[in-house]
Subunit: 134 residues, 2 copies
Amino acid sequence: MTPPSPADLVASFIAHLERKDLDAACALVSDTCEYDNVPIGKVFGPEGIRQILEGFVAGFGRIEWQVLHQLSTDDGDGSGTVMNERIDRFERLAPGGGWLELPVAGLFIVQRGRITLWRDYFDQGTLMQQMAAT
Amino acid sequence: MTPPSPADLVASFIAHLERKDLDAACALVSDTCEYDNVPIGKVFGPEGIRQILEGFVAGFGRIEWQVLHQLSTDDGDGSGTVMNERIDRFERLAPGGGWLELPVAGLFIVQRGRITLWRDYFDQGTLMQQMAAT
């Protein structure tokens, strides 16, 4: 079976997050995957990643991550590198609360069909400001 | 004459910045180029870009931008998209002052041999903290 390309794997990962299916999302990361929210810090492995994502899944309504640009390499064995520019959008639960919107640039290293490194660059002040408005 | 690939053009742009040759760097951006430091704001065109860069060139010693990862497309006519992950390093002028180091993820859109969009993602708090230590 041909493994998905790194670009397709990252697209699936984001689609799982948008559906709030953390089981499916975390099945795509390696046991030692590093998830680095650069200005905040790192967690490791599916459980560490799940804990971070659960906060967003529980605290918001719909989730939409708009990919503005994405570039990738594909080594042909399910390995490669993906970078994307995104607007990560989270619907606020309060009626009329609108959406939290965070501009992000992300790096994903994929090895044999699993994400081994996910590093997101964004402005922590923008996130905190948007969280405070939630 | 074959135009340089977008990846080579961005590498040249960064090399010019590291040499503090703003004439050469700004010759590689289009007349309407947008330079967006995402958490801070945008400037436009070679003169707008030069003003931002001059502050860093004048205020620091050596400049080294370490490219950790870079991905690109190449349309063959000097057009394409480049994304890179960098540590932008600026040597402090005070003796023993060390280096300001800023983790950045950048997007460059290149059209026919000129950068038309340069968007850098980073944490403003990290930059301010590093500036205050200068």
